[in-house]
């Protein structure tokens, strides 16, 4: 019996030593060790490791004692008292490369998370597939990716890129729901700078090719960028506070509710008189929603569409809002698929949607057309139509043509559609409309500018006015802006038990 205790004691010491070395190595690069990251991520003392002593599959690696664990720490802990699974790759062991054992550990933890209906977080810091293990390494990846897909829409899956993620390693994160990156020390790319240099003779650094900045502004692959690891992990904790543990259980609500009582009246004046002037829709979001509850997603990608979570009277809501101060709030390719993915995520996890609309239309241009704005816009339309969560729309100002339809209009399935008195809902903007409809009249008159101005006023009063929509029942009510919060709380409260059942089908065919 005593010799077993010795062995256990020896292992404990090994773990401590290994951790010391890991900390040293990682800190030199400005990074935390895998274990430290897990400590920051989970509530203190709640992390329970699974598979700490699994050895690498290949003998040449398993012979070295420090390689136990095969470069990944997997386990379960509590975040705000709720069960969450995680795996953290350890760059100090074989470069965090994924071998068969490493892959199996991750796959096991994914399967456990799915069985128990708990979220899973992946802390990625890996050199990629382990070349020496060849096809076994790739097969291990494949199993992980399959698990990602099987769990998709059932448990929240979050990836935090905390180092390199190259080649096949990026597929798992991209299949998950949200990707966090850490500035300057994390990278994602399919083929690295070396290969690019060899094949195409183009020089580019890792940061420029796939750093955090690139993926949160250019490619839109990542959703959050933090300046350091600590805040990135705290961000994960914050994100989880808006999400249910799985798609079956109800949403977490906040017990205390605070909001800017004294600022509600600002909403009455916040829309500029000049229709060509922009404003920041986030100001409106911050006034209507609970104080400091707005958590923006992908703020720097397609900034003309704002998405994120917030709380209304303590309950989480997904927000999709046009941003008039960027590109006039138009919908373009990037904004369309940014919005579509978010809407589908909220739908999967039963998070109600609030749509704040001020959109003059889709961005025109050869560029947009050649790159498939038709298909991309179709994604957003499909996502809204498909979503069976409560959907409440408030039209703040402009809402023209196809964009009006796409942004969860009444007949696409919007549950409540409100409008502010400043709303203008029409097939097209007054300038364009008047020119087309009254072309003959304007051509025949001496002073067309004056007539045009009159006709524009008439158009706004009679055709584009939201009261017209109200009369037709397509707008439920034209509301006073300063009452918006009160109205929305009631609207979502009415809709809280909404459930839809459709005839069975495997799944639809969203234009991808």
């Amino acid at each position: 019996m005593i010799m077993f205790f010795d062995k256990l004691h020896e292992r404990k010491q090994l773990l401590e030593e290994k951790e010391k070395i890991a900390i040293q190595k990682q800190h030199l690069k400005g990074k935390f060790s895998a274990r430290e990251r897990l400590q920051i991520l989970f509530d203190e003392g709640t992390f329970f490791e699974i598979g700490a002593f699994v050895e690498p599959a290949q003998a040449e690696f398993s012979s070295k004692q420090s390689n136990f664990g095969d470069g990944v720490i997997t386990g379960r802990g509590l975040i705000h008292g709720k069960s969450v699974f995680a795996f953290a790759q350890d760059f100090t062991v074989l470069g965090g490369s994924l071998g068969e054992a490493h892959g199996m550990k991750i796959a096991r933890i994914q399967e456990m998370a799915l069985q128990l209906g708990a979220p899973i977080i992946g802390l990625i810091d890996s050199g990629g597939a382990r070349i020496q293990e060849g096809i076994r390494s790739l097969a291990a990846y494949a199993r992980i990716f399959r698990n990602n897909v099987r769990s998709s829409g059932i448990i929240p899956q979050i990836s935090v890129i905390m180092g390199p993620a190259a080649g096949g390693a990026v597929y798992s994160p991209v299949l998950t729901d949200f990707i966090f990156m850490v500035n300057k020390t994390s990278y994602m790319f399919l083929t690295g700078p070396d290969v690019i240099k060899e094949v195409l003779n183009e020089e580019i650094t890792m940061e420029e090719l796939g750093g955090g900045h690139i993926h949160t502004t250019k490619s839109g692959v990542a959703h959050f960028l933090y300046d350091d690891e600590e805040h990135a992990l705290l961000g994960v904790r914050k994100l989880l506070s808006y999400l249910p543990p799985n798609n079956f259980e109800p949403l977490p609500i906040s017990k205390t509710v605070e909001y800017y009582e004294n600022r509600q009246e600002f909403l009455d004046k916040i829309i500029p008189d000049d229709p060509n002037k922009g404003y920041d829709v986030k100001d409106i979001i911050n006034i209507i929603m609970d104080k400091d509850s707005f958590f923006e997603i992908q703020p720097n990608y397609a900034p003309n569409l704002v998405i994120g979570f917030a709380r209304l009277n303590g309950k989480p809501i997904g927000i999709v809002a046009n941003q008039p101060k960027v590109l006039a709030g138009v919908l373009d390719i990037k904004a369309s698929h940014k919005g579509a993915r978010f809407v589908r995520f909220c739908d999967a996890f039963n998070i109600p949607l609030l749509i704040l609309e001020d959109v003059p239309g889709f961005l025109p241009g050869v560029d947009q057309e050649y790159n498939g704005i038709i298909r991309e816009g179709g994604k957003l339309l499909y996502a809204f139509c498909e979503a069976s969560v409560p959907k409440v729309t408030v039209i703040l100002r402009k809402s023209y043509g196809g964009a009006y339809i796409v942004m969860s209009s009444k007949n696409t399935g919007g549950d409540f559609n409100f409008a502010w008195p400043t709303a203008e809902i029409a097939v097209m903007g007054p300038e364009g409309a008047v020119k087309i409809v009254h072309k003959k009249e304007l051509a025949s008159v001496e002073n067309p500018e004056q007539l045009k101005a009159q006709l524009i006023e008439k158009y706004k009063r009679e055709i584009a006015t939201p009261f017209k929509g109200e009369a037709l029942g397509l707008i439920d009510e034209v509301i006073i802006p300063s009452e918006t919060r009160r109205v929305l709380i009631t609207a979502f409260e009415i809709l809280q038990n909404k459930q839809i059942s459709l005839p069975k089908r495997k799944h639809g065919n969203i234009p991808l």
Binding site: L28, G30, K184, T205, E208, Y226, K277, V326, A328
Partner: protein
């Protein structure tokens, strides 16, 4: 009447507030005692904290601080009408930041191109200006809307390639910035 705040872990009570100019304030917030700033105890009492504002009493003088904006760990605070910018670090994130600044591999020159075609209506900077990340550089009129373009980095305006009134095409080079973090 002092406000009580909740602190779970000891190390988490120590913060480093870094100002825009790189000035460092070491701030330790003990549970029921005066804050210790740069290793000196300062007899500052919190009188009230509401929404995003705080009022303090220090040497028999009242101070009022309003958090104008916050993003992750970066705060803009207004005291007596003047705006101060701080990024708050805990010890580890501060050390990490220091470590990384010594070995940055970001490119020296940042090119700012027009992301949409339009007419330049305003240029807010001149060559040689030091601009902050997020500060407006120029505005462009497109689709009858004014679009303001802000700086992606903190740097120096190296050269401006257009003038007010110019019509620019998509991706046209508007100006160049020198990244000073190199």
């Amino acid at each position: 009447m002092a406000t009580r705040y909740i602190y779970k872990r000891d190390a988490s009570r120590l913060f480093i507030a870094l100002s825009e100019q790189g000035k460092k304030f070491k701030i330790y917030l003990p549970q029921d005692a005066y804050p210790i700033i740069n290793d000196e105890e300062k007899e500052i009492t919190i009188l009230e904290s509401k929404y995003d504002s705080f009022s303090f009493l220090w040497n028999n003088k009242k101070y009022f601080a309003q958090i104008k904006s916050k993003e992750q760990n970066k705060y803009r605070v207004i005291v007596n009408g003047v705006e101060y910018f701080f990024s708050i670090e805990s010890i580890s994130s501060y050390l990490r930041r220091r470590m990384l600044e010594d070995s940055s591999d970001s490119k020296k020159t940042v090119f700012i191109n027009a992301s949409i075609p339009g007419k330049i209506t305003d240029i807010f900077v001149v060559e040689g200006d030091l601009v902050n990340e997020g500060e407006p550089l120029f505005s462009l009129e497109a689709m009858k809307m004014q679009n303001e373009f802000t700086s992606p980095i903190t740097g120096i305006v190296k050269s401006i390639h257009v003038k007010v009134g110019d019509n620019v095409v998509k991706d046209q080079l508007i100006l160049e910035l020198s990244n000073i973090n190199e």
